[in-house]
Amino acid sequence: MQANKFRIIGLVLVAGLLAFTWLRIGLSKSTEIRQPIRFNHKKHVQGGLECSGCHQTVKDQATAGRPETSLCMTCHEASVTKNPEENLIREYAQRHEEIPWQRVIKLPDHVFFSHRRHVSTEKLDCTSCHEAIGQSSEPPSRPIKFSMDSCLACHQKMKASVDCVACHK
């Protein structure tokens, strides 16, 4: 009787543990971001590049823009570093492919956000929202999330519009 009871508890525990691990692996797999190239923001910033040097539409369009392979090639045509990752750029260029950069900032579909509005007209610094990305030497492995609270806090402080439809599309 007693032994059976333990056996059942043991089974339940093992099953639970298995399920938990499986779920963990599954979940982390679905949210983990692997960039095609281990891009080092810090190096580029230290090298004197402006954010808008690569994110070229940041000042005049809603989205900041992803650098096209050709843009990377303007500097990386020939070897600049000894990092083997750098070769990958030239491999993409040779295949005439765009580098499939993964998005790390996740805004819900019902939110409208314009970089132009914040960067060009309101002169906000990129770090106001993107904090330390410029200082990171590894690409983030998980999506960066924004909460409505952080938007609102700033909007209230700056006396910007807090009208719902100003941001919700």
Binding site: A62, H110, F112, S114, R117, D163, C164, V165, H168, K169
Partner: protein
């Protein structure tokens, strides 16, 4: 602050429905299936309402394009339990999908039947997805939606004039329906600006508003020489 309004000249409108399709393409409005259409579930933020009067051989058929009338006293917002629909400072009646709980009180309250409920998740063929407008969200199942006067265009227009360092003018912001109207029967602009085209038009003796007696104060003003005119005095 401007007060955005629309004038629709029924004497010029031909009922061609260009506004209807322009709206659907601009605002990611899913098309119905024949079965849904049969149940009256077609979503059409601006709809052409036919009005048939008289009998053969002298019938009179008119068309009345009906967007959301963006009332100044909207009956729909008073019944919303969750502040998903509200009147914003510029007089637009906003609809926030992420707040909407789908109770449909507002669809029942709107005397103009301008609100639509998503009875099912929006359906598109995979091939159609690339042409969805990134400025407008795809509404999920179970929320109410309606015409926004192409509010996203206002956001973009504001951004543009700010970047160019000038004031917003009427022609900077035009909803898709007004822009496409072949007969030029629709006008759009600031009702608070005495010099705007729309304000001028509302002074016409042909001006009237739909169901004026309800006191909803719509910001869509119609013009006609027919017997409905004369109801609007401002």
């Amino acid at each position: 602050m401007p007060k955005w309004g629309m004038v629709i000249d029924l004497d010029k409108c031909t009922g061609c429905q260009a506004c209807v399709v322009a709206c659907k393409t601009e605002n990611n409005i899913p098309f119905s299936t024949p079965e849904q259409a049969e149940m009256g579930r077609t979503i059409s933020w601006i709809e052409i309402i036919p009005i048939m009067e008289g009998e053969y051989p002298r019938p009179k058929l008119r068309y009345l394009p009906r967007p959301c009338l963006q009332c100044d006293h909207p009956p729909c917002i008073k019944v919303c339990p969750v502040y998903a629909t509200y009147r914003n400072p510029e007089g637009l009646v906003g609809q926030v999908y992420s707040r909407c709980i789908g109770c449909r009180y507002c669809t029942a309250a709107c005397p103009y039947t301008a609100k639509y409920f998503n009875w099912s998740a929006p359906t598109w063929a995979k091939e159609f997805e690339p042409c969805l407008n990134p400025d407008v969200s795809k509404r999920p199942k179970g929320v109410v939606e309606k015409c926004t006067f192409c509010h996203h265009r206002l956001q973009k227009a504001k951004e543009k004039v700010k970047a160019e360092g000038r004031e917003l003018k009427d022609e900077d912001y035009v909803p898709a329906c007004v822009q496409t109207c072949p007969a030029g029967a629709m006008y759009f602009g600031d009702l608070d600006n005495p010099n705007s085209k729309v304000t001028q038009q509302t002074k016409s003796p042909r001006a009237f508003r739909l169901l004026e007696e309800l006191g909803t104060e719509p910001k869509v003003i119609y013009l006609t020489e027919g017997e409905w005119h004369g109801a609007y005095r401002k």
